[in-house]
């Protein structure tokens, strides 16, 4: 393995991809950069056990490495690696036959960001006041997969519509539609819950 110079941290993702194709050691830096983010992401997608998560992460990075030549430099590397992570996580819980319940950890900051987001059709005021992050997280888990995944990428991973389009391989317009519908369904569920209580 050649010695990697000290400026590696200043290299962009795309530059690191190009270097990784020449020298495997550069790939380690990409692993470093995305290990934590992807770990959180796949945990939210349902891979909760730390050992399972490590296995899935390994599979993700191995796949990323194998597919480095398919990376389109016109895309953001972040979107591309999220796509692979998403597919691997989905494959993982498909192999397990079911998506585990209670996997969406109540990340109060992210959940509250979802509620207070300017895009969101604001729920009733009482709902604003009484909202409980854990409750919201639970309702998120009850959404259809396509709605839950898109809210997760938008509000938990803070990806832009275009990036989400690249991750899920759907047109940008569809992303907007799905986000809107997902929020609408979430709001409806929460209102029903408020009426019941």
């Amino acid at each position: 393995m050649t010695v990697i110079d000290g400026n590696i941290a200043s290299l962009s993702d795309n530059e690191l991809v190009a270097r990784s194709l020449e020298e495997r050691a550069f790939f380690g830096e990409l692993v470093d950069r995305y290990q934590a983010k992807l770990g959180r992401y796949i945990a939210r997608l349902g891979v909760q056990d730390p050992d399972d998560r490590d296995d899935v992460l390994q599979d993700i990075f191995i796949k990323v490495y194998k597919n480095l030549n398919s990376f389109d430099q016109s895309l953001s590397f972040s979107s591309w690696i999220y796509r692979i992570a998403h597919n691997e996580a989905v494959s993982w819980y498909r192999r397990r036959k079911a998506r585990p319940e209670g996997y969406l950890v109540a990340d109060s900051e992210a959940v509250l960001a979802l509620v207070s987001d300017d895009d969101l059709d604001r729920p009733e005021e009482r709902f604003d006041r009484d909202i409980d992050a854990a409750l919201l997280a639970r309702e998120l888990e009850k959404l259809d997969d396509k709605y839950r995944d898109i809210l997760l990428l938008r509000y938990f991973e803070h990806l832009e519509y275009e990036q989400i389009s690249d991750v899920l391989k759907i047109p940008v317009g569809t992303v907007g539609t799905l986000v809107h519908r997902a929020k609408k369904q979430l709001k409806k569920n929460l209102e029903n819950l408020a009426i019941k209580t």
Binding site: L21, R24, A25, F27, G28, V31, D32, Q35, A36, G39, R40, A43, P50, R53, D54, L57, Q58, F61, I62, Y65, K66, N67, L68, N69, S70, D72, V105, D107, S165, K169, I170, P171, V172, G173
Partner: protein, 318 residues
């Protein structure tokens, strides 16, 4: 969330070690290029096959025999059900769907708006289908498949089956001069199985007689009758057979215009007869026979008030 944000420091080393140990290398650029071009190639093929399917579909639809459906079917609906080329309809739809799937799975396929993806797949197939139809590819493919496969029925075979139905007063074939077989007051019609049918031609117009005399392959409507005290077959309508060569649109239009002129005077009469038959709900045709009159046959006398062709044994597609 803290547990999940903890970095597990050995992951990087584990991965690099595994890459080393298992000798994993990135798949070559050529592999991905081939993958991408394969999808585009598959898209091109599905568009091409879609276009071919549409060409056969349009050929089969254009030359379905709308003009004479009353002669072969009870009504337009049964005619459509019997004649529409469903196989090609399904094939064209499948190909268009497959081309949509292929383009969607190219590297940037997901970025294109649905309308563009559907539009290009459908548009190119339709455009290609129109060009191929114009070139006669639909006719050739249909005929080729009919000749090559026992299970596929080409439009040519379908039309022949529909019109070679003596029991219902329909024949396909050509006429021979009267003196060839010695028919009296008429001509001898040889069907596609080369069976001779002596026919009286008193009901035919000048144009129809001319078409018969040309010796070309034609479709013939006939009736049995004892008008004049003598049992005989009467030719009631003669129509050109157009499926032995590529039926070019211009030629088809020309033939159709000619055909319309020829049968216009008879059409009204046929329609009246058909309506009468339907209202009486009587069984098909008088004395249906599958055999030419070359031997003694008992032919039921038909009450005729409008000439031998007044009651035609119309429809019945088999």
């Amino acid at each position: 969330m803290s547990e999940m944000t903890d970095r597990r420091p050995d992951i990087k080393e584990t991965i690099l070690a595994r890459l080393e140990r298992e000798g994993i290398t990135p798949r070559s650029r050529l592999y991905w290029l081939t993958h991408e071009y394969s999808l585009w190639g598959a898209w091109g093929l599905t568009v091409l096959f879609g276009a071919l399917s549409l060409a056969v579909l349009s050929f089969s639809s254009v030359y379905m025999g709308y003009a004479l459906y009353e002669a072969t079917h009870e009504n337009f609906l049964t005619f459509l059900v019997d004649s529409l080329p469903f196989l090609w309809l399904v094939a064209a739809s499948f190909m268009i769907l497959a081309s949509f799937f292929n383009i969607r799975h190219t590297k940037n396929g997901y970025k294109y708006p649905v309308i563009l993806v559907v539009g290009s797949s459908l548009g190119f197939s339709i455009l290609g289908g129109a060009v191929l139809h114009y070139l006669g590819a639909g006719y050739y493919l249909d005929r080729f498949l009919g000749e090559m496969s026992d299970t596929y029925q080409s439009r040519l075979e379908f039309e022949a089956r529909l019109w070679q139905a003596p029991k219902y007063g329909r024949l396909v074939g050509h006429a021979a001069p009267p003196d060839a077989v010695g028919a009296i007051n008429g001509f001898v019609f040889y069907d596609i199985d080369e069976r001779p049918w002596p026919m009286a031609d008193s009901e035919l117009g000048e144009r129809e007689s001319e078409l018969l005399r040309s010796g070309r392959k034609v479709k013939l409507l006939f009736a049995t009758s004892t008008v004049g005290g003598e049992e005989a077959f009467y030719a009631c309508g003669v129509f050109p057979w157009m499926l032995d060569e590529v039926p070019a649109i211009a030629k088809y239009k020309e033939s159709r215009a000619e055909f319309i002129n020829r049968v216009e005077e008879r059409r009204e009469r046929f329609a009246t007869v058909i309506n009468n038959m339907k209202s009486k709900e009587r069984p098909l045709g008088p004395s249906p026979t599958d055999m030419p009159i070359t031997s003694t046959m008992a032919i039921e006398a038909v009450p005729i008030d409008s000439g031998p062709c007044g009651v035609l044994p119309l429809y019945g597609s088999r």
